[in-house]
């Protein structure tokens, strides 16, 4: 069957080259959850500045009046939005839709997506980075944390796959 997507190995090599260029230019790898964290910190700072200044978590990112939105990862994620959109446009995949297995309803899919997001957001902070920031980048620099996080993520997902099979197949 003809696939509409790029050969995964080719895509992997290209992704590796993107990662390598991030290392070569900026000395750091890719990331994603860090950008959302910047948005969270900014939002809390705007809504409840006293609360933000007093908490050990937010104040770390609000030092010397710096705007947390003015960070490498935020610009990178804006780029991801643009890049994803461009690719979708080229391939004709731009369409509002909720993708789910025929066995579940759209509503259930959205609830599950939201729950998954919450877990991922929480876990990414505890694990100091998500799949891209900790696992992929960490593995490329051979960091112990990268391998540990990668195995924990994929291991857990495999272990739990059976219980959630109805949502996907």
């Amino acid at each position: 069957m003809k696939t509409k997507y790029m050969n995964p190995y080719l895509a992997g090599v290209l992704l590796g080259l993107v990662l390598l260029s991030a290392f070569y230019f900026s000395g750091r790898g890719l990331g994603a959850s860090g950008a959302v964290k910047s948005v969270v910190v900014t939002t809390v700072d705007a809504v409840a500045p006293e609360h933000a200044g007093g908490s050990g978590f937010y104040s770390k990112y609000l030092k010397d009046g710096k705007n947390p939105l003015n960070s490498w990862l935020v610009y990178e994620i804006l780029g991801v939005l643009v890049g994803g959109f461009l690719s979708g446009a080229v391939a004709g995949r731009l369409k509002f839709k909720i993708e789910h297995s025929p066995k579940i309803t759209s509503k259930k899919r959205l609830i599950l997506a939201g729950m998954g997001g919450i877990l991922f957001g929480f876990g990414s902070q505890l694990g100091r980075g998500c799949t891209s920031g900790s696992a992929l980048t960490g593995m490329a620099v051979l960091s112990l944390a990268g391998f540990v996080t990668m195995m924990a993520i994929f291991g857990t997902a495999f272990a739990l796959a059976y219980f959630f099979r109805k949502n996907w197949i």
Partner: protein, 207 residues
């Protein structure tokens, strides 16, 4: 051969090569030319003989004198407690722990300042900190500390005070003529702060 087999074999070969070549351990230069120029211009690497004399008299434990001349010259004369690292052996493995550390303040000296300055430049370029150069070298040390010449009577007070101190120091180091002199006035020489070795500077990361 299918493309995927070809890709697989290329990656395996690349992996085998990287597994067997020795790792690149060359230490990169840490200072740009302009940074070095700035340090030289401000003379931050210089230690004056007067300061050194005072630290030695006070038995400052963090001072390490390093004689940069040949072993021969070192044998003939060297300052007390100085160790000998000839310039030609500066980069030998055995000295790296002395030169690249964050505890002692190393002071290079030679007869003049040419050799000691060369040694300082090289170590500084390697990113080592806490290495300094004795201003004027041994020649100037003899001239100012061991055989100080009296300033004219019309000299300003601090010149006279300096002379008195040098006279005292001279006695301490056993040079010059023995003349009675009052105890050296204590002028606290300020010592450059020893920089603790920092962890490598890396850009902030994290996801």
């Amino acid at each position: 051969m299918t493309p995927r087999l070809r890709l697989t074999s290329i990656v395996i070969i690349l992996g085998m090569i990287i597994a067997f070549v020795p790792e690149n351990t060359t230490k990169p230069y840490k200072l740009t030319a302009s940074e070095l120029l700035e340090e030289v211009q401000y003379g931050t690497e210089m230690v004056s003989p007067d300061d050194l004399a005072e630290w030695l008299i006070n038995n400052d434990p963090s001072i390490q004198l390093i004689d940069i001349r040949t072993p021969n010259e070192y044998e003939q004369f060297h300052l007390d407690n100085a160790m000998n690292i000839p310039l030609s052996q500066l980069l030998d493995e055995e000295w790296i722990d002395y030169l690249d550390q964050g505890i002692m303040m190393n002071i290079f000296y030679s007869n003049g300042t040419t050799l000691s300055h060369e040694a300082w430049m090289i170590t500084r370029q390697l990113g080592y900190e806490n290495n300094y150069v004795l201003q004027g070298g041994l020649n100037y040390w003899t001239e100012t500390i061991l055989n100080p010449s009296a300033p004219a009577l019309t000299s300003p007070d601090d010149e006279i005070a300096k002379y008195t101190f040098r006279k005292g120091a001279s006695q301490y180091f056993g040079g010059g003529s023995l003349t009675q002199s009052t105890a050296a006035t204590k002028s606290k020489a300020s010592k450059p702060k020893i920089k603790r070795k920092k962890k490598k500077k890396a850009p902030d990361g994290g996801c």
